[in-house]
């Protein structure tokens, strides 16, 4: 029996019921209405009162610690748009979402959000999703999975983000295909800049502008160099050739860097294949992206050359002048790009997958070296063209650069030389062939490539051959006494031969060395200087390559396994350079030395070269306290002036002075013997200093310290 208000009480019946209701609501944290949960502690005054302006739900409170005090934010759980609260209520705009006074939120806006239970799947067909909606959803999903934290990794996860965006862009079929096509092209285009070689720091966005900027420089530079000269006849042809070769070589560089990106890679296939996209769809998007990519670079590389060409060629008929220049340089660049792609297409067609991978590594590296060499030699070749053509040298018929100079001559005669103009037809034919082969191989083998990429890796039972095993066994016994030395020695070899970035980097130095060699082949003093110059290029190239990290995040293995002092690590690096770089270089030089000099002199030249190179290596590696490829590296830290000084000294003083000393020592055997003795002592001393046990007691570097954020003049006493 219940008798209401029979006795005077502390509270009225309504108040009692109200209390019960509140207790019930507080007991469940997540009821129908989220705002009705238990009150949280904290200074937020509007808890449970603020409603979301977009969806009309109550917003929850989150606290953030700032300066030791809790600061509340009001968050809508469904939309991640929030108001931060400071001293006063601040409204923060997030995209187009705006939190308004909930009481005034129009009902239409509230009703637009399908609430639980009232959502109907057919409502999807009502119209295309807006991009805003798509983005909001992507954000919301990534918010749920907590991926909002790793913003720094965005570039690497861009593909994943695109995919989520793509999946979201569902509604209208036609529009969907169009939209996803554009998105795919954009994605593939972005991936061209996401290669390890182009963006070692993993920021493809910044690299687009950087790369475009760098590649536009050479043509501008040559315009400035040749502008003051009055060019006509063969000298004009030579300068034209320089611009043609810039276009060809730079396009060649781009194709070499993008060698692996010409087809979608494994990651692309793994992520894109599960989506409802046809292979033809992927193919078209990839081809469009490739076309766009090549077009942009072709225009970029020749931009200043075309724009300012009038300053170099001041001849009549400016429109004809402009058109001939544009046609010639664009055709040359296009030919270079297409011929690299055609070569890849042919290789992929005729070779089995494993052989293709092996061969393409070699070709990519060789191309890189060749292009760098041609870059340095192109002014010389341009000015040698007159002699070559007049002496009817067969080389002119085989070198593509000259064909395009012929094409230019045919379009706008400068010398009226029939042989030169006759080369033009070769350029046209070559371009047609390259384009034809490209189309014939790229399309049919696209499908085959896709299948190959997705196949599971086969177990490969064959390990290193007996020759390699035997070599390492001998090295371990004779040279690499400490296990750590053996480990680091192998690691250096494995990285150099397998990391594309390092291979291409060294190929650049190799190409430079080859250009120097080609230039110094004429004279005897040049011959004496050559091995010294090459060893200088080699050792300094290795020093620079060792600084570049390879898979930096994997270097924890070195840090955790560092159970010996630094000595063996540092010695292994020196031993590798001596055994795998300096000795093979001089072994290659030996036949030439023995062919040109008496055997005693040749032997001394080799000993001298090796001795001097070893000293150079010890000097260059004196402060190098790293395991190669394992330390972070800030490219901005390189002191370009110091580097230029070192190189200028290297090429002028070092090789010149050493070659003079060598030629003097060859005539005085006792002095030669003394020199070799002293060189050995110096080498040992430097080695002790740089990699001895005393020097190796300090820890190895795994972090490049980089430049300080604030530079000081170090005036204050320490």
């Amino acid at each position: 029996m219940l008798l209401r208000d029979a006795h005077p009480g502390y509270i009225r019946w309504e108040e009692y019921e109200d209390n019960l209701r509140r207790l019930r609501e507080n007991a469940q944290a997540y009821g129908e209405d989220r705002g009705q949960g238990p009150a949280r502690e904290g200074p937020a005054l509007l808890q449970g009162l603020v409603l979301c302006g977009r969806c009309g739900r109550r917003m929850t409170v989150r606290y953030h610690g700032r300066k030791g005090r809790p600061r509340p934010s009001y968050v809508c759980v469904s939309f991640d748009h929030w108001i931060r609260s400071g001293e006063e209520l601040q409204y923060q705009r997030r995209r187009r979402d705006r939190v308004e006074n909930p009481r005034r939120t129009p009902m239409r806006q509230r009703a637009e959000v399908p609430r639980q239970g009232c959502f109907h799947p057919d409502s999807r067909a009502e119209g295309p999703a807006k991009t805003d909606d798509k983005n909001t959803k992507t954000d919301r999903l990534s918010h749920f999975w907590g991926s909002g934290r790793g913003r720094g990794r965005r570039s690497r996860n861009k593909l994943g983000l695109h995919v989520v965006q793509w999946v979201m862009s569902r509604p209208s079929e036609q529009r969907r295909v169009k939209k996803s096509g554009t998105l795919l092209i954009r994605h593939f285009f972005g991936r061209f800049f996401d290669t390890e070689a182009l963006s070692p720091q993993g920021d493809p966005q910044a690299n687009v502008t950087q790369t475009l900027g760098i590649l536009a420089v050479p043509s501008a530079f040559f315009v400035l160099v040749f502008r003051p000269l009055n060019l006509f006849g063969w000298s004009l042809v030579a300068v034209r050739y320089i611009f043609l070769s810039i276009s060809m070589i730079l396009m060649g560089f781009i194709m070499v860097f993008e060698w692996d990106a010409l087809f979608p890679d494994r990651r692309d296939y793994q992520i894109l294949t599960p989506l409802p996209l046809g292979l033809s769809h992927l193919f078209l998007a990839k081809a469009a992206a490739l076309g766009m990519f090549l077009g942009i670079f072709l225009l970029d590389i020749n931009f200043f050359g075309v724009l300012l060409w009038r300053a170099i060629d001041t001849g009549p008929r400016p429109i004809n002048l402009f058109l001939s220049h544009v046609t010639a340089v664009l055709a040359a660049g296009l030919f270079a790009a297409l011929s690299v792609a055609a070569l890849q297409g042919v290789l992929i067609t005729i070779l089995p997958a494993k052989a293709y991978r092996r061969v393409s590594v070699g070709i990519q590296t060789a191309f890189m070296g060749l292009l760098v060499m041609l870059l340095f030699l192109s002014p010389m070749m341009g000015f040698a063209m007159e002699r070559l053509i007049k002496t009817n040298n067969p080389g002119v018929y085989w070198f593509p650069g000259f064909w395009f100079a012929g094409l230019y001559e045919a379009l706008r005669p400068a010398t009226h030389n029939p042989v030169l103009a006759g080369l033009g037809i070769r350029a046209v034919r070559a371009l047609a062939w390259a384009a034809g082969i490209c189309a014939a191989t790229y399309l049919p083998f696209y499908r085959r490539h896709a299948r190959k990429m997705l196949e599971a890796p086969e177990p490969s039972p064959s390990g290193p051959g007996p020759l390699r095993k035997g070599t390492f066994a001998v090295l371990d016994r004779l040279l690499l006494h400490h296990p750590v030395e053996s480990a680091v020695f192998r690691f250096i070899g494995q990285t150099i031969t397998r990391s594309m970035k390092h291979r291409l980097f060294l190929a650049t130095y190799g190409g430079f060395g080859a250009a120097v060699a080609a230039m110094s082949l004429g004279s005897e003093s040049g011959l004496l200087r050559l091995p010294l110059t090459l060893s200088f290029v080699l050792v300094s190239g290795l020093r620079a390559a060792f600084n570049f990290p390879s898979e930096l995040s994997a270097n924890w293995a070195f840090q955790v396994s560092e159970t010996s002092h630094a000595g063996p690590y540092l010695r292994a690096t020196r031993k590798w350079i001596a055994v795998c770089a300096i000795l093979p270089l001089f072994a290659l030089m030996a036949p030439m030395e023995f062919a040109r000099f008496p055997w005693k002199a040749a032997l001394f030249h080799l000993a001298f070269g090796i001795g001097v190179s070893m000293i150079l290596m010890e000097i260059l590696f004196l402060g190098f306290r790293k395991v190669p490829f394992t330390c972070s590296h800030f490219p901005g830290k390189i002191n370009l002036v110091a580097l230029a000084v070192v190189y200028i000294l290297g090429f002028t003083m070092y090789s010149g002075a050493m070659a003079r000393l060598e030629s003097w020592l060859t005539g005085v055997p006792s002095a030669a013997a003394l020199f070799l003795g002293i060189a050995a002592c110096v080498c040992l001393l430097l080695n002790r200093l740089g990699a001895g046990d005393a020097a190796g007691s300090a820890a190895l570097d795994y972090e490049d310290r980089g430049d300080p954020v604030v530079r000081t003049l170090n005036l204050s006493p320490q």
């Binding site: 759980v77 400490h482 397998r498 994997a554 293995a557 840090q559 159970t563």
Partner: protein, 258 residues
């Protein structure tokens, strides 16, 4: 015995690990639990010497590991949270690299590496580059690399991620066997069921602070909760998971302008 004493690590001004102390005894497996971002991996990175603590110290057999870091590393085997390896090396080459870096004689390294790869069912892939390995295969290479030098202290950060059922079972037996041999094992995992079965004591960390450090039985009795999962949920304030799941489904089903 591995003792962690008042370990604190600040990133900027935020304490990621806050006054953490616990002991890992030899011959038993200690489970280290906590939700993502609670400071588990930071603690482990401090112990392994990959990062430095703001304050506090780590003692091995009563001696601060900073006094002789190389001696400590010689006795340490570590499986990191993420399987980051030199992808261009083959499985065998990676083990050879690690073994030699740990100054083991080359013949011993080659023999052990070959045998371990066979035991972890990677024998036929030993000459394939790690880039072609699946996540579970990489994880097995990491476990092999951590065991290669017969360490006294084992720190295993999520060693079972991506590993198939058979290998996971093998690993559980392996853990028990290693503990029986007197190894000091710190085992970090999200798989509570495994922790419950193999760990003698568990440490639960949340937002950088230790919430509980005791044996599973003792915790069960103390909190009157039958499972470790329940204890974990009770100690660690998590989101309303059902509600979040509901929101996810609602998000993916919403179409049209919002």
């Amino acid at each position: 015995m591995l003792e962690i004493q008042r370990l604190t690590k600040y990133y900027r001004n935020t304490p990621v690990v806050n006054d953490v102390s616990f002991t890992v005894r030899p011959g038993e497996i200690t489970g280290y639990l906590g939700p993502n971002g609670s400071g588990k991996s930071t603690t482990v990175k401090i112990i392994t010497g990959l990062i430095e603590a703001t304050s506090g110290k780590v003692l091995l057999d009563g001696r601060d590991i900073r006094e002789d870091p190389m001696g400590f590393r010689r006795r340490l085997g570590y499986v990191p949270e993420e399987a980051i390896l030199y992808s261009y090396l083959t499985g065998l080459e990676y083990l050879q690299l690690i073994g030699r870096l740990r100054s083991l004689p080359p013949e011993e390294v080659d023999r052990k590496a070959d045998h371990l790869l066979d035991l972890f069912l990677l024998g036929s892939y030993r000459h394939a580059p790690i880039s072609s390995y699946s996540k579970g295969m990489k994880q097995r290479v990491l476990i092999s690399a951590a065991l290669l030098h017969d360490p006294d202290v084992l720190i295993l950060d999520e060693p079972l991620s991506g590993i198939d059922v058979t290998s996971a079972q093998l690993f559980k037996h392996l853990l028990t066997e290693l503990a029986r041999k007197g190894k000091t094992i710190l085992y970090i995992s999200h798989v509570l069921e495994v922790v419950e079965r193999v760990c003698a004591q568990v440490i639960i960390i949340y937002k950088g602070r230790i919430m509980a450090a005791d044996s599973v039985e003792h915790l069960r009795g103390l909190m009157n909760i039958p499972s470790l999962e329940g204890i974990f949920a009770q100690l660690v304030e998590e989101r309303d998971l059902e509600g979040v799941a509901h929101e996810i489904v609602e998000t993916i089903q919403t179409a049209g302008p919002v």
